[in-house]
């Protein structure tokens, strides 16, 4: 069957189930309810004063009674500094557990070491918002029999609510916790800030283990994860390296191209009609996205504009803007550098939020719905403004859906920023390899060579033209770029599907096929 973007979607996949094709960004949402039933959270009981402390991670995992075919979940707040996921998976491997579905909120380069577990069928299924490094390459080459499922941050919450992901065991790394399992990421030597992605896992998992390298006297405040969902607590020497959360993504770029793009994007924002007192704003970390914040900050000061809130991945740059009084509030589902933790802990205007409140489409209104302006990156964009943030120009899985489609769906103005070329490959395609965010939710593309407005949003194009912007037709820009580099040879794929890209409402927006090598 074909979805509304013309992508061929299988009706059923063994081990995953029936699939529903994408029908438009708001088609399902506009009903006002979700057709799928939510599953009940597990019923648990604990005797009074019964200790939850386990002497090691292995003991805790053994107590959770792991079985073949289980689903295990993790958060990725430590990003590239995480060591708990790999350690836990090796323990399960040593215990001989097979056929595990790994449902981490995202997988990074630091998880390369679990690749052998995909090869020996310890891990046979993966749900994640992003997959990078060697795992991404191996999956793209068909290491798993079953396709992985890429979801958005909001979509993951929906998937857990509806039982598409049914966690048997959740292991939550926390930079501080008490003996009952109240836990947080906002203080301790490995502080990583918000723990927002783990909240839904704790609520729905049959067994929950909190792992910390900083056991604090009861109660651990703030109660980011609460004891009523936690079965076991483990104290370890280290949960990882918080300094690797950022890996350069929170520094304002020195790249002249990124700065040029960011400057144009900030000008677009200034003249969009939405840059006014009380506006809300989200930017990604790293590259041109974060640099947009730098220029927006300058413009806010110049025009004495005060925003309402910044949302999503919060960097120390956002904290600076809060402290300068440029925004009233930060809503933090994920902290992009450890330096944010202090603000999260001590400033009541800096609020930790769970992923459900951030971006789950199926509730009475997530915060992405309140966004005025979001600035997002892209690996590729096509002439219909569909965006790929998951597969690279070589066809390998190497990125993350993250909150991309969630925020694009909610924002009044979605600005995609990216350079015209990556190495020698133009980023504008007739058709992107993999659609993650549908073009109907993307308003503007900004590259260093010009601004392209989605023709669906005529009023915006008129606004920008009236303000003196040279708006380019995306087809003309594509032609110009192809004229410089030539058109890249198409990547060849096998028929086997190695990945399904789920839109936030649970429908399948695209499939990723195995690379021909």
């Amino acid at each position: 069957m074909k979805n509304s973007l013309g992508k061929e979607i299988p009706e059923y996949i063994e081990g995953i189930g029936k699939l529903e094709p994408f029908q438009g960004a708001w088609t399902k949402l506009s009903k006002g309810w979700m057709d799928e039933a939510t599953i009940p959270a597990p019923n648990k009981a604990k005797m009074a004063h019964q200790s939850k402390i386990c002497e090691s991670l292995r003991v805790a995992i053994e107590k959770s009674n792991p079985k073949d075919g289980m689903t295990i979940t993790f958060h990725h707040h430590l990003r590239n500094g995480d060591i708990i996921l790999a350690q836990s998976m090796m323990i399960l491997h040593e215990m001989g557990i097979k056929d595990i579905t790994l449902a981490a909120s995202s997988l990074n380069d630091c998880h390369d070491s679990i690749l052998p577990l995909l090869k020996d069928k310890t891990i046979t299924g993966i749900w994640a918002s992003g997959i990078r490094g060697e795992l991404g390459k191996a999956i793209s080459r068909g290491v798993l029999e079953k396709p992985v499922i890429i979801h958005s941050h909001g979509g993951r919450v929906r998937a857990i609510h509806t039982g598409r992901i049914r966690p048997d065991l959740t292991i939550i790394a926390a930079s501080a916790a008490d003996i009952e399992g109240n836990a947080t990421g906002s203080h301790g030597k490995s502080a990583f800030g918000s723990i927002g992605y783990a909240v839904i896992d704790a609520r729905y998992s049959k067994q929950v283990i909190v792992v910390t390298d900083n056991l604090v006297p009861y109660p651990c405040i703030p109660l980011s994860i609460t004891q009523n969902f936690v079965d076991y607590v483990v104290v370890v020497d280290s949960i990882g390296d918080a300094s690797k959360i950022a890996t350069g993504t929170t520094r304002i770029t020195n790249s002249p191209i990124d700065l040029k793009i960011a400057k144009i994007a900030a000008d677009v924002i200034e003249h969009s009609g939405l840059f006014k007192n009380g506006f809300s704003f989200q930017v990604g970390a790293g590259g041109a996205s974060l640099a947009v914040a730098k220029f927006v900050r300058e413009k806010m000061k110049k025009h004495e504009i005060k925003g309402s809130f910044m949302l999503g991945g919060i960097t120390s740059y956002c904290v600076d803007m809060l402290n300068e009084g440029l925004f009233e509030t930060l809503f933090d589902v994920q902290s992009f550098d450890a330096a944010v933790s202090n603000s999260l802990l001590n400033d009541r205007r800096h609020i930790e939020i769970p992923a459900a409140l951030y971006a789950n489409p199926y509730n009475c209104g997530c915060m992405t719905n309140k966004l005025d302006i979001v600035v997002l990156g892209a690996l590729e964009i096509d002439t219909d403004f569909n965006v790929n943030v998951i597969t690279g120009s070589d066809g390998n899985i190497r990125g993350a859906s993250g909150g991309h489609s969630d925020t694009a769906s909610g924002a009044e103005l979605t600005v995609v920023v990216c350079p015209s070329f990556r190495s020698r490959i133009p980023i504008i395609k007739d058709k992107v390899h993999t659609i993650v965010t549908p073009g109907e939710t993307v308003h503007v593309l900004v590259t260093e060579r010009g601004v392209c407005v989605n023709p669906k949003f005529k009023h915006l194009e008129e606004n920008l033209k009236n303000c003196g912007f040279k708006v380019m037709d995306i087809l003309d820009l594509k032609k110009e770029l192809d004229g410089i580099t030539g058109v890249a040879k198409e990547i060849e794929f096998e028929d086997k599907i190695v990945g399904l890209v789920e839109y936030r409402d649970g429908t399948i927006i695209d499939v990723i096929k195995q690379l021909k090598v």
């Binding site: 002249p256 191209i257 700065l259 040029k260 400057k263 004229g483 410089i484």
Partner: protein, 284 residues
């Protein structure tokens, strides 16, 4: 004016996107000896194939005393960029010899002699001494520039952030350009992370009469534009002066006052220049 090494394809193809008034595609000091041929071929192809939008394109060739200068001319002159920049110019005679060679190549390609400018770089003590003759030696000399790094090397002094060692040269070169009514471009500011230092030096350049400044990194362009572009207040005042000038001219009055200050011909000329920079026209 943005310097771009002639052997860097990525930088060359992106050169036009930064909004520089002009680009200097460099075949000389930015290119290693063993890359000279590659750079020449690359620049030749990119000039004809890349859209540099609103930026003028200049090419800095190697000096004719090197084994590369003549080949550079043969490759670049037929393409007729906006200008050819000649490094380490020391005398009017050598510049005239260069222009002769250029015009001989132009003749062979049936090209007019009035399109491409010649820019002379002054980067030796001898060049500074002879700069008045150099600037005025030929109608095709459209600009002179100072090369601070080479000049300090030639003077055997260390380049200091305050520019003390080349201050005399700067002012002498500016005066030569003004005497011949041609553009004069200041040397690069090498610390790309020192934005305040760049701003200070650019403000000084503007104050002593340079009409522009060379940059080695696109991040420096905005600061230079901010300094050189007239402010909103300057534009408003210039507009008022020129408007009043036209009104008084009709009445046969050459000197008049605005807010109690005398306005005469030189001030009007300056105001007209400000409006020209800002792209503002005043109807007579």
């Amino acid at each position: 004016m943005l310097y771009i090494p002639g052997n860097n394809p990525a930088m060359l193809q992106q050169g036009g996107v930064y909004g520089a008034d002009s680009l200097l595609l460099d075949l000389e000091d930015a290119v290693a000896i063993n890359q000279k041929d590659a750079a020449r071929i690359l620049v030749k192809h990119l000039i004809t194939n890349i859209n540099y939008y609103d930026s003028e394109v200049c090419v800095r060739i190697n000096h004719l005393s090197t084994p590369f200068g003549k080949a550079d001319l043969e490759a670049i002159v037929p393409l007729q960029p906006h200008a050819i920049r000649y490094p380490k110019t020391e005398t009017a005679k050598e510049l005239l010899e260069l222009i002769d060679m250029i015009e001989e190549i132009e003749n062979r390609h049936n090209l007019a002699h009035n399109k491409m400018e010649i820019h002379a770089m002054i980067e030796t003590a001898m060049g500074v001494q002879n700069v008045f003759e150099i600037a005025g030696c030929h109608i095709r000399v459209g600009a002179i520039t100072i090369g601070g790094q080479d000049l300090t090397a030639d003077m055997n002094i260390i380049y200091t952030p305050d520019g003390a060692g080349i201050d005399f040269a700067r002012k002498r070169i500016v005066m030569a350009a003004k005497a011949h009514h041609i553009d004069v471009i200041d040397t690069v500011f090498v610390d790309i992370n020192d934005e305040e230092g760049l701003r200070r030096e650019t403000e000084y350049s503007k104050k002593i009469g340079f009409t522009g400044k060379a940059v080695i990194n696109p991040r420096q362009i905005d600061i230079i534009h901010e300094v050189y572009n007239p402010t909103e207040d300057e534009i408003r005042r210039a507009y008022r002066i020129v408007k009043e000038f036209y009104k008084n001219k009709e009445a046969g009055i050459g000197v008049f006052a605005i807010d109690g200050k005398m306005i005469d011909a030189p001030i009007v000329t300056r105001a007209q220049y400000v409006l020209e920079l800002a792209g503002v026209s005043v109807g007579e």
